[in-house]
Symmetry: C2
Subunit: 113 residues, 2 copies
């Protein structure tokens, strides 16, 4: 069994898709032995955004703290602490912080070949 604290993992800037004020920590990955999915922790600063994008991998997301929106061209859904999101494969999605604190969430993504 492996235990770490999330701060043991280096924080990296997310710059794709026109994202701003956003960092990612990859908490559990194949380097830890993971075989099926990867656990990541995102932090979006005030007025930060992860730009609209899509991919074949689905997402299962848990909002740890803050307030924001997940959006695409069809809909905008408000999200807050202790909300849960499912984003299906190939569905465009972006996130923005609309609150007064960082928007922090866990996002699991499958290891697909």
């Amino acid at each position: 069994m492996m235990r770490k604290h999330y701060t043991d993992v280096e924080k990296k800037a997310v710059t794709q898709y026109g994202s701003k004020g956003t960092s990612i920590r990859v908490l559990v990955s194949p380097e830890d032995g993971a075989q099926n999915f990867i656990l990541r922790r995102f932090e979006i600063e005030l007025n930060g955004i992860i730009g609209l994008h899509n991919h074949i991998q689905e997402h299962e997301i848990y909002i740890l703290s803050g307030k924001g929106e997940v959006f695409n061209d069809e809909e905008t859904i408000k999200i807050k602490e202790n909300d849960v999101l499912y984003v299906p494969p190939n569905e465009p999605h972006g996130y923005r912080n609309t609150g007064n604190d960082n928007l922090i969430f866990l996002c699991t993504i499958p290891l697909l070949e």
Copy 2:
């Protein structure tokens, strides 16, 4: 995209493996469209336990709040808020609450056939 609050999901008692004072909410499952893994939220009350067990599915775990231990016959690891755990396939594991509040964690498990 699907959003729910964790309290929208019914809480069920965990009674296998001699577990006590423990409940589970299955937050995202194939009923929501999930294709690769399931996101669950566990809550272990004061002095509660999930008994030792094992299975072929790995776990990726994030501790939301509380203090406790993950254990097997070989080792006991202390866990607390914002810790991350990886439990490999087939590795025996149990959890106990050793704190003064509920021990709450997210646990992702692959959909394996």
